[in-house]
């Protein structure tokens, strides 16, 4: 529309301009033409008037009217002359022609447009003689006028037509590009297509403003197109990014939703699990309690809370030690602390637990919770109230003990009376009566053994008897057992073949001798005269195995398993009845089981049987002669020579390392009994070497002695890592004492031939953390001293083989032994001169029946401390 309008406007403008110009030109032409025509007409009339005047001079001079009329009559040839008159100076017209009317008079010559009138004075000889008047109509003029008008109009129209045609053609020069621009703009606008371009007009028309406009427009479009492309690219990019992000978001959302589902199900599962856990915990008949690494109770079940008679809420979050332990149970004895240290499930333990002001006995097992890398985060304690059980056990014990006593008392009388009768001391007894008395005596003995065995078995199986484990020489144990049964064997005509094994093991000497004796006795019992019973042993790193083989008829295969049951004797019709109780093998089995070992029988019927039992040798128990104690030492600026010498004198092998970076390797390769490090304070970075040792499973058990200038209490968390602290700078003796203590080498040599008394002494000293070595005879004592220099000697004077005096005499000849503290523990007073013969290092004398075990142990402590005033040997518990 606008396109049309601009075309029209242009055409209109051109047409308007042309029309106005043409009209003005035509009008001017007409006016000029008309003025020319009028002027010609006027001049023609004047010429005519002059001609008439010239012709009328005569008539006027003469007044000849007729002649005048004649002159006028000539006008008839001119139709346009409508009137003519010849006037004399005065009077009426001399002659008239046509209609001369009044109007002539007084009127101006050109006043009247319908006609042209001319009046001309007729002059003769300079003298006016008359006037000629001619009037002509405008007939010719008008005709001319009409002709002119028609011409003008014709020209006008032709010119306008021409102008129109030209305009309609030429206007395109301007309008075309504009229209095109407009069209393109409209198209661009409507189609949003920026690739459309306006076509440039012909090149000849180039370089006008329109071209510039179009070019500019195109450039603009190009620019817009580029922008648009960029924009759309950007937009695409953006869209892509948005898509990617959206996809990511969507997947994240999905994942999140999945995770949520999982989390919810996990939470549900968790809730279910914890509900089930609680149910299981609460259903348990035993108390179950969780304890974290700091000894704080983390959970407890209903039964547990009931046993402890406190609400669970009150117990959870509280300290196990502070809340429950009774005073007599120091935290060092706490199995919880023990499992934290060792990482092993504790043995079943009984202890008393504080309830308000009283205590109740409980039995419990602590199990560590092992996290990754062996880190122990705490433990679970299962416990039960054993008040009732203890009461019943006490009743049973009392019963058993009473019965045993009540049976024993009459048996004592019977046995004594029979013995006296049989001895013939009271009166001569007839041979047959003597035979009867012997039968009575042997059956009384059998009854006594039966009672003893029943009691024994009861004790061992109920765990009442604690094993009195010591490091013993296995060969000695075997010899002792053989010694016990030698008489029976001799009587039976059976030879005992002993194949000794030379090793050390930690076991209850008496009980193992009892076991061996039992098995040897059985073997002898079932052996035909003239055969052998063989006792052999074998050891490996961990276990010790004994084997007793006979050449008898063997045990029927179907009875191999049952013979260890009570009163299950092999049918012994052809054996020499020794009056066994039927409890020998069950007792053996109980003893072996109490040691953590295993007993079994093998047999080939007719070829004999073999009874074997295997016992664990406690870890680290090796004969001192085989592996001397090793100590790894590091100190930055100490002279190591005197320390080294002193340690060697005490039987240690010092390993001095130059650099702490060698520590781990030294500990791993040398397996020392102790490590000594001279550090500065808790801030010393070298504590990490200590930590490294404690982190390593293989080295964590090696005791570490740290000498530091900072007091022990300021070492903070490191205190738990070390076995002993000594002040730095330290003297050699302090160090060596510390090493002796932590490596378990405060060893006291107990020379005592009474096994029971030796057992009592050993137990009493072990209770104070002192390791003992037992020697039965003077010779054994000397052998023990050769293996390891004792830190103190307890000496009985009356001994088999070399007596006490001889032992001391020998010890005096050795430099290291001559200053060892000595405690003479004899049954009788020792005279002054005898005392002189018995002096070693600090020496004291005690008489057996005069002192209690506590006094005895105190004296031992006093003597140990007398040698080493720098150290207080503290009780280990």
């Amino acid at each position: 529309m606008r396109a049309k309008s601009i075309q029209r406007k242009l055409q209109g403008m051109i047409m308007l301009t042309s029309s106005i110009v043409l009209l003005l030109a035509c009008a001017a032409f007409v006016v000029v033409d008309l003025a020319g025509a009028r002027y010609t007409l006027n001049r023609d009339l004047l010429s005519l008037a002059e001609i008439i005047g010239a012709n009328s001079t005569a008539p006027l001079t003469f007044g000849d009217r007729e002649a005048a009329s004649e002159v006028l009559e000539a006008l008839e040839s001119k139709p346009s002359i409508i009137a003519a008159a010849i006037y004399a100076n005065s009077g009426p017209p001399l002659a008239t022609y046509g209609a001369v009317n009044q109007q002539m008079q007084g009127s101006t010559l050109f006043g009247f447009m319908s006609r042209i009138e001319v009046a001309l004075e007729i002059v003769l000889d300079g003298e006016k003689i008359g006037t000629v008047y001619i009037a002509s109509d405008l007939r010719d003029f008008m005709t001319h006028l009409r002709q002119q008008a028609v011409l003008a109009v014709g020209i006008l129209f032709a010119a306008l037509l021409m102008a129109y045609l030209l305009a309609s053609r030429l206007q395109r020069l301007i309008s075309q590009p504009i229209l095109e621009l407009a069209t393109v703009a409209a198209k661009v606008r409507s189609q949003k297509d920026y690739s459309i371009r306006v076509l440039l007009p012909d090149s000849k028309a180039a370089a006008d403003e329109l071209t510039e406009l179009v070019t500019g427009f195109n450039q603009m479009l190009t620019e817009i197109e580029q922008r648009d492309e960029e924009l759309s690219r950007h937009r695409d990019d953006l869209e892509h990014q948005v898509d990617v992000r959206t996809a990511e978001l969507r997947s994240t959302n999905t994942k999140l939703a999945d995770a949520k589902v999982v989390a919810e199900s996990v939470a549900e599962l968790n809730a279910e699990l914890s509900r089930q856990r609680q149910m299981i915990l609460d259903a348990a008949g035993e108390g179950i309690m969780g304890v974290d690494g700091a000894g704080i109770v983390t959970f407890i079940n209903t039964t547990g809370a009931e046993i402890l008679r406190r609400p669970a809420e009150q117990l959870v979050g509280g300290s196990l030690h502070a809340g429950l332990h009774s005073k007599e149970l120091a935290s060092v004895d706490c199995p919880m602390c023990e499992i934290k240290r060792t990482g092993n499930r504790s043995a079943q333990t009984t202890c008393s637990v504080r309830i308000d002001s009283s205590t109740i006995p409980i039995e419990y097992i602590a199990t560590p919770m092992i996290e990754s890398e062996g880190w122990r985060s705490g433990g679970v304690v299962m416990f039960r109230d054993i008040t009732e059980r203890l009461a019943i056990e006490r009743m049973k014990d009392e019963f058993v003990s009473t019965v045993s006593h009540e049976l024993r008392t009459p048996l004592t009388s019977i046995r004594g009376a029979l013995g006296l009768l049989g001895s013939g001391l009271i009166g001569t007894v007839e041979e047959r009566a003597k035979r009867m008395l012997d039968i009575a005596i042997s059956n009384t003995d059998r009854l006594v053994r039966l009672i003893n065995d029943i009691l024994d078995l009861e004790r061992i199986e109920s765990g009442k008897v604690e094993l009195n484990k010591t490091d013993v020489n296995v060969a000695e144990v075997m010899e002792e057992a053989v010694l016990v049964v030698q008489a029976i064997a001799d009587a039976a005509g059976v030879a005992i073949v002993l194949e000794k094994v030379d090793a050390t093991a930690s076991l209850d000497r008496d009980r193992i001798v009892q076991t061996l004796t039992n098995l040897l006795g059985n073997a002898i019992k079932f052996s035909p005269r003239g055969t052998n019973v063989r006792l052999s042993g074998s050891v490996d790193q961990l276990n010790l195995t004994f084997r007793i083989r006979d050449e008898g008829r063997g045990v029927p295969v179907d009875q191999l398993d049952t013979i260890f049951e009570r009163f299950k004797q092999v049918d012994a019709s052809d054996s020499r009845d020794k009056g066994g109780s039927g409890l020998g093998l069950p007792i053996c089995r109980s003893i072996v089981a109490a040691h953590g070992g295993r007993i079994w029988a093998e047999s080939v019927e007719g070829q004999g049987s073999a009874f074997s039992f295997t016992l664990p040798r406690s870890a680290g128990v090796t004969a001192p002669s085989e592996s001397p104690r090793t100590v790894v030492i590091w100190s930055e600026n100490r002279d190591m020579n005197p320390i080294s010498e002193l340690l060697q004198e005490r039987g240690f092998t010092p390993v001095i390392i130059e650099s702490l970076s060698d520590l781990m390797e030294a500990v791993l390769t040398r397996r020392p009994d102790a490590v000594v490090l001279d550090l500065l304070s808790a801030s010393d970075p070298r504590w990490r070497f200590v930590e490294a040792l404690k982190r390593n499973e293989e080295t964590e058990t090696v005791p570490i002695i740290v000498a530091s200038s900072q007091p022990e209490v300021l070492l903070g968390r490191y205190v738990d890592l070390i076995a002993r602290w000594i002040p730095s700078p330290f003297n050699e003796r302090e160090l060596v004492d510390a090493v002796s203590t932590v490596s378990g080498s405060i060893n006291v040599l107990v020379i005592e031939d009474d096994l029971d008394l030796a057992g009592v002494i050993t137990a009493g000293l072990q209770a104070r953390g002192i390791h003992t070595v037992h020697a039965m005879t003077g010779r054994e004592a000397i052998e023990a001293c050769q293996r390891e220099i004792p830190m103190l000697v307890v000496l009985d004077l009356v001994l088999p083989e070399l007596d006490g005096f001889e032992v001391v005499e020998w010890m005096r000849t050795n430099r290291a032994l001559s200053s060892v503290p000595l405690l003479v523990f004899s049954a009788r007073e020792v005279s002054g001169s005898e005392q002189e013969r018995l002096r070693l290092g600090p020496t004291d004398f005690l008489i057996k029946s005069r002192v209690s075990l506590d006094e005895f142990a105190d004296t031992v402590m006093k003597l140990l401390n007398a040698v080493n005033p720098a150290r207080e040997i503290k009780n280990a518990s």
């Binding site: 004592t412 046995r415 004594g416 009384t444 024994d456 002192v851």
Partner: protein, 125 residues
Amino acid sequence: MQARHILIVDDEDDIREIASLTLELTQGWEVNKASSGREAIDKALTLKPDAILLDVMMPEMDGPSTFRLLQADARTSSIPVIFLTAKVQAADKRGFLQLGVCGVIAKPFDPLTLAAEIAERLSWS
């Protein structure tokens, strides 16, 4: 074996009799008897035996109490004491030894070896 003077303390008449008869007959030792802890202390003060064979389980005052009273008195504290008891468990025996007695002899005993056992506990020769 040289002649010794023994005080036997037991609430059981039979055992007292058999034990004393045994020691008298086998060794010719001089034997005195007491049937309670109280009586034992009195006799120990007056008779000053070389050793006391003391039953553990007695009514009123048992063996260990008697032993402690004997130990507390300077006049009797040097007399060695051996418990004669039906309590033969190692733990019991260790407990008695911890009290400071010279030895423990189990019931029932063989009358023929009783004197030797006593001599061994007391390091008599």
